[in-house]
């Protein structure tokens, strides 16, 4: 059976959920062979094996942390040459897309970014994408070379599918260009203890209507009552009320949770671009004409300062 390369996104050996989703998709096309680079790469093997990786290729070098993107492209290319896979799947992070595109160019292939589904077909993998702020769905294929496809978080279920997951050392020699862009310092993000925005099952977002950084506490309280991640509109981020890393929309994160709750957000096209594919959408807005209400499964026309705390209290009461 053909093998499929899966690029592993991990933090010091802890595999991020989107990679496990990629393994589910990879198994539709062939046998997943994972590539885990950097410190802790080998520690990913047990989790990857549990989810279907037949092999886990690892390589660690200082270059992965000290230089931007290119060392990882070199390594993925080495894996590609060693495996001759039927397809290469990469998580659709900003970095993942850059790695995927450069690999595709090097190996003479096409690249498809931000797929929300991947299916096998007689003519190779078929990728589904959601375009124009999620107002259209397209299906496409790579028709030259080996398909390289990046896949968004929450595009498939994580499934247990035990496989060997044998760890093998990958042979990598870095290209001359690998050290072109130096990372001179790195400040890790502080964890909020809340779920990762793009991976969360529930996202609770606030917009301009929240009217102040201090008021975001009521959005956070609602999020915590549901075990949700916190999002923000660009208006709230630009006002300095919430960090840009939490921005939902075209130039922020694109989320596709089971439940999205928007408070004090009008629903501009650029915001919709990042949340329109959520399964259930709920909005609280005092303007009955706000475009966000065109998307909702349930909407409350009202003041968020009344509705949100009451909702939070009711949830906490029900949970006992």
């Amino acid at each position: 059976m053909a093998e499929v390369l899966v690029y592993v996104d991990h933090a010091g050996g802890v595999v991020r959920k989107p990679t496990l989703e990629l393994l589910t998709l990879a198994r539709r096309i062939g046998e997943p062979v994972a590539v885990a680079l950097g410190a802790g790469g080998a520690d990913t093997a047990a989790t990857l094996a549990e989810h279907g990786a037949v092999r886990v290729l690892t390589h660690d070098a200082a270059e992965y942390a000290d230089y931007l993107v290119v060392p990882k492209v070199d390594a993925l290319q080495a894996a590609y040459e060693a495996v001759s896979p039927a397809a290469v799947l990469v998580p659709s992070s900003a970095e993942g897309k850059e790695i995927a595109a450069r690999l595709a160019l090097r190996i003479g292939s096409g690249v498809i970014t931000d797929a929300i589904d991947v299916e096998a077909s007689e003519e190779g993998p078929v990728a589904t994408q959601s375009v124009f702020a999620a107002s259209f769905t397209t299906t496409s294929r790579v028709i030259k070379g080996t398909p390289v496809i990046t896949v968004k978080p929450n595009s498939a279920a994580v499934e247990a599918a035990p496989a060997a997951g044998a760890v093998e050392a990958l042979n990598v020699s870095f290209s001359q260009k690998a050290t072109g862009t130096k990372v001179t310092s790195r400040t890790p993000r502080e964890s909020t203890g809340r779920p990762e925005l793009t991976e969360a099952a529930i996202v609770v977002s606030g917009g301009r209507g929240v009217n102040g950084a201090e008021n975001f506490a009521i959005i956070e309280a609602l999020a915590d009552s549901l075990g949700a991640a916190v999002g923000a509109s660009r208006a709230a981020v630009d006002a300095g009320w919430y960090p840009h890393t939490n921005q939902v929309g075209q130039t922020g994160k694109s989320v596709s949770p089971q439940l999205y709750i928007a408070s004090g957000i009008s629903g501009a096209i650029q915001h919709r671009a990042g949340m329109q594919t959520s399964k259930t959408i709920v909005a609280i807005n005092k303007d009955a004409e706000a475009p966000i209400f065109d998307l909702v499964d349930y909407g409350v026309v009202g003041d968020l300062f009344d509705v949100v705390p009451q909702l939070t209290e009711e949830i906490n009461t029900r949970k006992g």
Binding site: D114, T137, K182, V300, V301
Partner: protein, 261 residues
């Protein structure tokens, strides 16, 4: 020696308009109002600031696109860019990111450059990969997705705010940079700028000027193929209630009925 900055700008259909596909499943660029991609305005802005700080610099804006893409160039020129290059050719219709990066890279090489500045993503394709592809093709460092950028003594440095960490990056020129919408508001063209732009040179190149075969680009040269396009079904109208004092409780009831609580 003068610092030669090339800014890649894309002409895109207006996101607030009715964006759709043409019969051949390419993005319809004829029937929809277009404009300079808002995200590329940030690239123009940073180019102008870097040029202002340099002793001697020249900002060239470059687009690959149909006839109307001149509007995007005109806007960038009225913001303050010095000159423009428009690559236009019938055979470019339907080019994918790999092909677009080929055309841009050839044009950048022909124009001559020390620094390329791109937007973080086009607002229509939203791939966000062209800058990385340009770096790969040109064989120069990629310093991408910067929310802060500066150039000094032949070194470009900047901050990349990623998901897991915020990184400080550095590379020697020549290099390819892309900037995010966090890099600083783009200026509005002044009246004077708009008038001056009318006199600035716009060079037109086609594929033969760049020694590119028609077969390498366009729908024919594309490495990807769109098989089908479907409008997303409209969401079924939801329940909307007016808060009369119990709105939060009613919403909790809905969430419970959907098993979220």
């Amino acid at each position: 020696m003068s610092l030669r900055i090339v800014v890649t700008v894309k002409y895109v259909p207006d996101a607030t308009g009715d964006r759709h596909f043409a019969d051949d499943l390419t993005v319809d660029r004829d029937d929809v109002d277009g404009l300079l991609s808002e995200l590329d305005e940030y690239a123009v802005e940073q180019a102008l600031q870097i040029a202002e700080d340099a002793d001697d610099a020249e900002v060239t804006v470059l687009t690959v696109g149909p006839e109307d893409a001149k509007d995007a160039l005109r806007k960038a020129l009225s913001m303050g860019a010095d000159k423009a290059i428009h690559v236009e050719d019938e055979d470019l219709h339907g080019t994918d990111v790999i092909g677009t990066s080929l055309v841009l890279a050839k044009a950048i090489e022909k124009a001559g450059y020390d620094l390329v500045i791109s937007g973080m993503a086009s607002t229509d394709g939203t791939a966000g990969v062209v800058p990385a592809l340009l770096a790969e093709r040109l064989g120069v460092p990629q310093v991408t997705l910067l929310s802060e950028v500066s150039v000094e003594d032949g070194i470009v440095s900047g901050r990349r705010d990623g998901d897991a960490a915020s990184e400080q990056l550095e590379a020697s020129l020549p290099a390819v940079v892309s900037v995010t919408d966090q890099s600083g508001e783009a200026r509005y063209p002044s009246f004077k700028g708009i008038m001056a732009a009318k006199k600035k040179p716009v060079q037109a190149w086609d594929l033969s000027d760049l020694d590119i075969d028609a077969g390498e680009v366009g729908l024919e040269g594309s490495c990807t193929k769109v098989d089908a396009v479907a409008a997303r079904p409209a969401r079924t109208a939801g329940t909307i209630v007016k808060d009369e004092g119990e709105g939060g409780k009613q919403l909790a009831e809905f969430l419970a009925s959907q098993k979220f609580i």
